[in-house]
Amino acid sequence: MLSADDWQALALTLRLAAVVTAILFLLATPLAWWLARSRWRWKGVVTAVVALPLVLPPSVLGFYLLIALGPQGPVGQLTESLGLGRLPFSFWGLVLASVVYSLPFMVQPLHNAFEAIGERPLEVAATLRASPLDAFFSVALPLAGPGFLTGGILTFAHTVGEFGVVLMIGGNIPGVTRVVSVQIYDHVEALAYADAHRLSAVMLVFSFLVLLAVYGWRGRPAAKGAM
């Protein structure tokens, strides 16, 4: 039903989204934790900076990343001097761009979730001999579960749905950077509507099933309270 290209694009998209989500879990968790608990006076500034990628249109973000990662850009020169080569138009370039692009979508829900936990559970953990790190893993993480779920879904989906950034920095290379969103767009531009419909439908159904599984699994939430 789908062409080999379509399948390739699908696989690539899933891989990209999975890698980005995994990286953001690692990156955003400590950041959100720090944001939720620090009392540093300039914290507001950091929070605002972290939220900035939100307002940058993807195409613009893509453009600046292209410049920054390109041969004349500071990051580009760094990666080249490190022997990593150039990132634009490569899978890892997409990953990097998507991480920047989706950062706020992971940080915000986690930030809220961590904040909602409050001091008490961590105090209890401390009286039960858990070091702060231990308490973080054994108490804060599980209690922030819904935040992680939301952050993970928003990030994954946002990456799957990403378009402007990929178009700019990905360069539409099959198997490397041609993700589903770009592939569908190409079908549309080629007026190959039937192809576009088919690929969209597959993606929709697949996404729907994934979301359904996630939300179905989530089930009735624990009755916890703000009191």
Partner: protein, 363 residues
């Protein structure tokens, strides 16, 4: 206070409330923290546990400096057990998960936990989620969770407030045993003079963030002028030994310096050291030896002092019983002023002390 003590010098100014104490507490036995709602009991415990950081404070536990100047031992490295005022169970863990949480971390084995589970009657709740427990059940899990760690000091914030008498009666002896066998100090916040008299060796009375009275229980209790008004629960605690058993009537005789008392048989071995609590309200005085009364315990004594009680119609009378050979003991009696007058009670008056009932406290 020969054993190493807990030392706490704290100053914590909050808007509207300032904690300001300098305490040296005995390194063993139960210290009761007493005081009105809002007097700073919880805050004091939190400072000692390191949950509240009072700058410039000094907290030393058995020679280990927990806080002083730049020294700061974080809570999780302080070998304590803490029972929070509101049972604070982890909502994401089952009861069993809550109970086991600290075990590995404290390097404790299962035995203390199993004992605590049995004692607190929570064995049937292990699989439950905390939000499916009743208030008292939650509190009991919280207590068991702290006990399971075998801590070197226990900080308990009104642990039994949510429990019924029957349950309290089961738990109190266990806490007594803990105190005695594990030989660990317990800081115990309670509003119940009953619990305090039963458990405490040492008493700290807080008012408005300051220490209003402090000292060994026996002393503090017989102070007629003290700021500690126990009201209905005024009384004394006597240390004695289990000397004789009347098998037929299920009674035992307890000898103490100054006399002896008969009371119900607690089932303890003869020779064991025990404490008995004699409430002032249970003590009546007579000028003649009474006879053919259901009151079993009658001791000769001499009035030592009289003091006003909370109500103008009533007086507290301090009586010394015993003699040169047997030793002395001090008892408190609550009598109406009219009786005091009609009996002609004044310092030096010889009286018969009738004791209606006696509470036997172990250890």
């Amino acid at each position: 206070m020969s054993v190493p003590a807990i030392e706490a010098r704290l100053h914590l100014p909050w808007p509207g409330f300032t904690l300001d104490v300098d305490l040296r507490l005995p390194g063993r036995g139960v210290t009761a923290l007493f005081g009105h709602s809002g007097s700073g009991k919880t805050t004091l415990l939190r400072c000692i546990a390191g949950l509240e950081r009072a700058p410039g404070a000094r907290v030393v536990f058995q020679g280990e400096v927990w806080q002083d100047g730049a020294t700061w031992l974080p809570t999780h490295r302080r070998p304590l057990g803490y029972v929070f005022q509101e049972a604070s169970l982890f909502p994401h863990l089952s009861v069993a998960g809550n109970l086991r949480y600290g075990l590995k971390r404290a390097g404790a084995d299962d035995s203390a936990l199993q004992q605590a589970i049995a004692l607190l009657g929570i064995g049937h709740l292990l699989e439950r989620r905390p939000d499916r427990l009743s208030g008292g059940e939650r509190q009991r899990v919280g207590i068991a969770r702290a006990l399971a760690l075998r801590p070197r000091v226990l900080l308990m914030d009104e642990p039994l407030a949510a429990l019924d008498h029957a349950r309290k009666k089961e738990i109190l002896p266990y806490l007594e045993r803990l105190r005695d066998e594990l030989d660990i100090p317990i800081l115990y916040v309670s509003h119940s003079p009953d619990e305090v008299a039963r458990l405490a060796d040492h008493l700290v009375v807080l008012a408005d963030g300051r220490v209003q009275a402090e000292g060994p229980l026996a002393e503090t209790l017989t102070r007629l002028d003290g700021p500690l008004r126990l009201g209905e629960d005024a009384g004394v605690v006597l240390a004695g030994t289990l000397a004789e058993r009347d098998e037929a009537w299920h009674l035992v005789r307890i000898d103490f310096p100054g006399g002896h008392l008969w009371t119900r048989d607690p089932g303890l071995p003869l020779g064991k050291a025990v404490r008995v609590r004699v409430l002032a309200r249970d003590v009546s005085l007579a000028r003649q030896p009474p006879w053919s009364s259901s009151i079993q315990n009658v001791l000769p004594g001499v009035v030592d002092a009289l003091a006003a009680d909370e109500h103008p119609g009533v007086a507290l009378v301090r009586v010394v019983v015993g003699d040169e050979d047997a030793g002395h003991a001090t008892l408190l009696a609550r009598v109406t002023r009219r009786s005091a007058a009609s009996l002609g009670l004044e310092p030096g008056t010889p009286v018969w002390v009738q004791i209606k009932s006696v509470a036997l406290l172990e250890g």
